[in-house]
Structure formats: structure tokens, C-alpha cells
């Protein structure tokens, strides 16, 4: 029973990380049909910058913000400087973003080296505690991570559902050309959404570097999981990203604990099943 609870909590922790990483990826995918293969690199960049900021200032909160802002700027630059010039040509964008992700990975390897980093936790988040009711001990940072993902998810949902900017994004997901014909400069909106996606990825990177650790390769790991989450949950949907992240995170951990040999297959089995039964994703909307 204890094992089951711990595995479930680990699954939720992973799901929280996957959600933070995938929600921005999903927004970009849903709005622009751009498969941003540099999304993992943005996450890793955020993690590294966050580590350096914490190292320099000693403030974890500043590190999370710094990592988020750095990745947001990098994301906006990727869209403004490169991908925006090939709008509508999704294949070329995808290939260009793979190139960008390789270049970024090499630059980061050059600057931060090939070692594994773990962000030093503030006192409040270090250590663990025994959870009431469940009766198992669990690391504070992982609990905080779940809380952080929850807050970020709600904030994102409010932004998308309740603000004018969010309405414009939803309109763009529904019908880009019509939004342009109503006077919206779609390229500027794209840059903003890329920045938003980068912000989420960057913060996820710092949190991942705190709860787990980051190293070269972390970028691809999160890129892959984001792809799976978006395929399972449905593109452009925050709820879909949350649901997809939950399924993938839990499947990965249950698989690891109870069927280590076949664990990796679980995630992809879910993906194949969803593609077969509901190709637009569990909460995605079918193309009109």
C-alpha cells in the first residue's frame, strides 16, 4: 500500500512537470500548427539560467523567475527571428526548430558543461514531511511542485478563458485567417504566445532542476513527453494538457514500479490507443 501511494505521488509529481512543460507546447501547437521542436531546449535553458541565478543570488524564487524570463525571451526570439518567416510552412518550421534545438543544446553544453545540475532548495522546500491521512513521507519540493503546477494551470486557464488576450488566442486556434480579417496582427500574437510558452517551459526547467536534476538530454526527454502529452490530451487545450500529463506521468511511474520490463511501453500504448480511437486527442477538437 505504501509503495502504491509513493508511486502514485511520484506519478503526480512527474505529471505536474509534464504539464508545465507541455502546456506551452500545446498552446503553440494549437494556435500556429507549429511543432516547436526547440521547446525542450527552452526548458533546459530555463533550468540552467535558474540554477545560475540561484547560485548567484541565493534566492530560489528569483531563480524560477529568471529561468522563466530567459526562456520566454529565447522563445520570442525563435519565433520573431526564425519561425515567423516561414509561417504556414509547418514542415520547414519543424525542421528549423530541430536545428535551433541542436544549436541551443550545443551552446548550453559549451557554457554549462556536461555535468548534472541540481538547484539548491530554500529551507522551506528542503526535507520532507509525513502526509496526513495517507501516512507516507514525501519530499517538500515535490509537493510544492504539484502545488506550483496547479496554480500555474489555474492561472493559465483564467488567462485563456477570461481575458481578452485569451479570447484572441482561442479565436486564433479556431480560425487564424478569420482573426486576421478582423484586424489582428497574427504575427505579434504568435511572438507573444511563443514567449508565454517559453515562460512556462523555463519555469518548468527550474522546477525540474530543483525536484529532480537537469543535464544534457533533459531537453529531449521533456520534448518527447510534451509531444506524447499533447497527442494524448489534444492540442491547444489546457485541460487536455493536464489530462494528458496525468495519464502519461502515472503510466510511466506505475509501469516503472509494477512492470519494469514493459514500463516504457505503457506510455506509447496510451498514445496509440488515443490515436486509434480519438485522433484529435482526448479533449481536442476535431478539425472542421
Amino acid at each position: 500500500m505504501t509503495l502504491f501511494l509513493i508511486v502514485t505521488l511520484n506519478g503526480l509529481t512527474l505529471a505536474a512537470l509534464y504539464f508545465l512543460a507541455a502546456s506551452g507546447f500545446s498552446l503553440i501547437f494549437g494556435l500556429m500548427r507549429t511543432v516547436n521542436m526547440a521547446h525542450g531546449a527552452l526548458l533546459l535553458l530555463g533550468g540552467y539560467v535558474g540554477y545560475s541565478v540561484v547560485d548567484l543570488t541565493g534566492s530560489w524564487a528569483l531563480g524560477v523567475m529568471g529561468g522563466g524570463v530567459a526562456a520566454a525571451l529565447a522563445g520570442a526570439l525563435v519565433q520573431f527571428g526564425v519561425l515567423g518567416w516561414m509561417q504556414g510552412d509547418e514542415l520547414r518550421q519543424t525542421l528549423a526548430s530541430i536545428a535551433i534545438s541542436i544549436i541551443m543544446a550545443d551552446l548550453m553544453l559549451w557554457y554549462w558543461g556536461g555535468i548534472t545540475y541540481q538547484v539548491e532548495l530554500p529551507e522551506a522546500l528542503a526535507g520532507g514531511q509525513r502526509l496526513p491521512v495517507l501516512g507516507v513521507g514525501y519530499a517538500n519540493i515535490r509537493l510544492a511542485l504539484m502545488g506550483f503546477a496547479l496554480v500555474a494551470g489555474i492561472a493559465l486557464w483564467l488567462l485563456i478563458q477570461k481575458t481578452r488576450f485569451g479570447a484572441v488566442i482561442r479565436a486564433g486556434v479556431d480560425d487564424q485567417d478569420m482573426l486576421r480579417a478582423l484586424g489582428y496582427p497574427i504575427n505579434r500574437i504568435f511572438v507573444l504566445v511563443f514567449a508565454l510558452g517559453g515562460l512556462l517551459a523555463g519555469m518548468a526547467g527550474v522546477v525540474a532542476a530543483s525536484a529532480l536534476s537537469i543535464a544534457p538530454g533533459t531537453d529531449l526527454q521533456f520534448l518527447l513527453s510534451s509531444l506524447v502529452v499533447v497527442i494524448v490530451g489534444g492540442m491547444g487545450s489546457i485541460g487536455g494538457a493536464a489530462l494528458g500529463a496525468l495519464l502519461v506521468g502515472l503510466a510511466e511511474q506505475y509501469g516503472l514500479a509494477y512492470a519494469p520490463t514493459y514500463g516504457v511501453v505503457f506510455t506509447f500504448a496510451i498514445m496509440v490507443l488515443v490515436l486509434a480511437v480519438r485522433p484529435q486527442g482526448l479533449l481536442g477538437k476535431a478539425e472542421q
Binding site: A167, V168, A171, D174, M178, R180, A181, G183, P185
Partner: protein
């Protein structure tokens, strides 16, 4: 390309036209959709008629900049629109009510209006609600929960909020019940009375003749006839030749 018909239609074109299209060509891969379209539009509402697949919707999309034209020019209020993005053209005062209405399925009626509304124009959200009380009743409903007629009101309402000087309407009566069609006809009259130039693409001959003063007929990606609505109404042979209508058929 230059047929005598075009010289004739060119002869009575006003020079101070709000929209001036010259030699407009559109190619889609290997298909040639528009062949040197010439068209002037001033104060008098203009209907564009023609059978399916004659390039009417492509013409609208090209005017809005959603398709880049391969040759020719479009001038709006004297400004050459070449290379201008759709959003730029919209803010210059071209409102678009597209075929199939294309309301946003995940936006409520109110959100549709909010994202377009600007301060200081003749059209405000309140005025749209006054004009379409039904939209006010349904303001919390999503775009895809509306009936066809309601979607059409919304598509027209959101275009009006741009405070356009030209309104391009692409088959606004398509798929609507006859009673609603006459509402839309009245609405187009109202738009024209507001001093907004109207370019109306229609399959429904009677709706078109009731809402516009002039008509142009498109065949195979070209404008082949231009006349007053009244002249077309009386010329059943012409209707039959270009629109495939037997006399008295509604279309």
C-alpha cells in the same frame, strides 16, 4: 484577355471608386482561378453573381489578402493593397463576412464582439445588440451553439464593429430559412444606408437583386457582364445563360 465587354463595362466606371480592381489574376498551384478581373465599386452596392466555382469566393479572399494575387492590382481608397497583410486591410476599413460565416466555435457571442470592438467608432457592442436583440439574448453562448441565422447576425455584427468603409459579404443567405433571408436582405440595405460600400457575393438571385443596385456576373474567373440589378431582373435570357436559372426560379 481584354474583351470588348470589359471596355464597355469600363466606360461607365467612376474614377473615384472606393475599390478598384485591375487585371486581377489568382493561381492556386496549377489551377488558374481568376483571369484578369476588373471591377470598380463606389457608393452603389454591388452584387457579384455566378454559378458555383466561378471564382467569387476566391475574389473575396484576394480582396482581403488571404490569397496573394499573382498579377494585377487592388486599390482601396486610392491605396495599392499589394503585399499588405489581411489585418492591415481590415484596419484600413474592409469588413469581411465570409462564406460559411466562420464564427469562432470556442468564443461566446460577447467575446466575438469584445475582441473586435474599438473605442470611438460609430458601431459599439451596445449598438450591435440593439440591432440584433437575439444576439444579446445569446451573448453567453458559444459560436457553434448558434443557429445559422444567429451565426450570420454575429458574423455581420463583428464585421460592423470594425467600422468598415467597405463590407465584403460572401453568400450571407446560404443555408438560411426564407424568413431569415429577408432579414439579411434588410440588413444589407441598412449597411448601405450607413454609408458603407457593399460587395455582395450571392447564389440567391432574388436576395441579391433585392439588396444591391448593380450586379456583375462572373464566369470562369472573369467578370463578363456588368449591369444594374433592374436590368438583370428583366433579362431572363441573361439569367438563364450565366446563372443557369429558368425564369421564375429562386436560385
Amino acid at each position: 484577355m481584354n474583351r470588348c465587354m470589359k471596355f464597355i463595362s469600363g466606360a461607365h466606371m467612376a474614377t473615384d471608386a472606393l475599390l478598384e480592381i485591375r487585371g486581377l489574376d489568382l493561381r492556386y498551384g496549377s489551377s488558374h482561378v481568376l483571369h484578369g478581373v476588373d471591377l470598380n465599386l463606389g457608393d452603389r452596392p454591388l452584387g457579384i453573381l455566378g454559378r458555383n466555382g466561378m471564382g467569387k469566393t476566391s475574389l473575396c479572399n484576394t480582396i482581403l489578402g488571404l490569397h496573394p494575387n499573382s498579377a494585377g492590382t487592388i486599390r482601396f481608397d486610392g491605396v495599392d493593397l499589394s503585399g499588405l497583410a489581411p489585418e492591415k486591410r481590415a484596419s484600413m476599413g474592409i469588413g469581411y463576412v465570409p462564406q460559411g460565416r466562420r464564427v469562432f466555435r470556442s468564443l461566446t457571442v460577447e467575446e466575438h464582439l469584445k475582441i473586435v470592438a474599438r473605442k470611438g467608432g460609430a458601431w459599439t457592442i451596445d449598438r450591435v445588440y440593439e440591432t440584433f436583440p437575439r444576439l444579446k439574448e445569446r451573448r453567453r453562448n458559444l459560436g457553434n451553439a448558434l443557429s445559422g441565422g444567429e451565426q450570420q447576425m454575429l458574423a455581420i455584427g463583428r464585421a460592423l464593429l470594425l467600422n468598415p468603409r467597405l463590407m465584403v459579404l460572401d453568400e450571407p443567405t446560404e443555408g438560411l430559412a426564407p424568413a431569415i433571408v429577408s432579414d439579411v436582405v434588410k440588413l444589407i440595405e441598412l449597411i448601405a444606408q450607413e454609408g458603407i460600400a457593399v460587395l455582395l457575393v450571392e447564389q440567391n438571385l432574388h436576395a441579391a437583386l433585392a439588396s444591391v443596385k448593380d450586379v456583375a456576373i462572373m464566369v470562369g474567373g472573369e467578370v463578363v457582364e456588368r449591369m444594374t440589378a433592374q436590368a438583370l431582373e428583366e433579362d431572363t435570357a441573361m439569367q438563364k445563360r450565366h446563372l443557369g436559372l429558368e425564369p421564375g426560379q429562386a436560385g
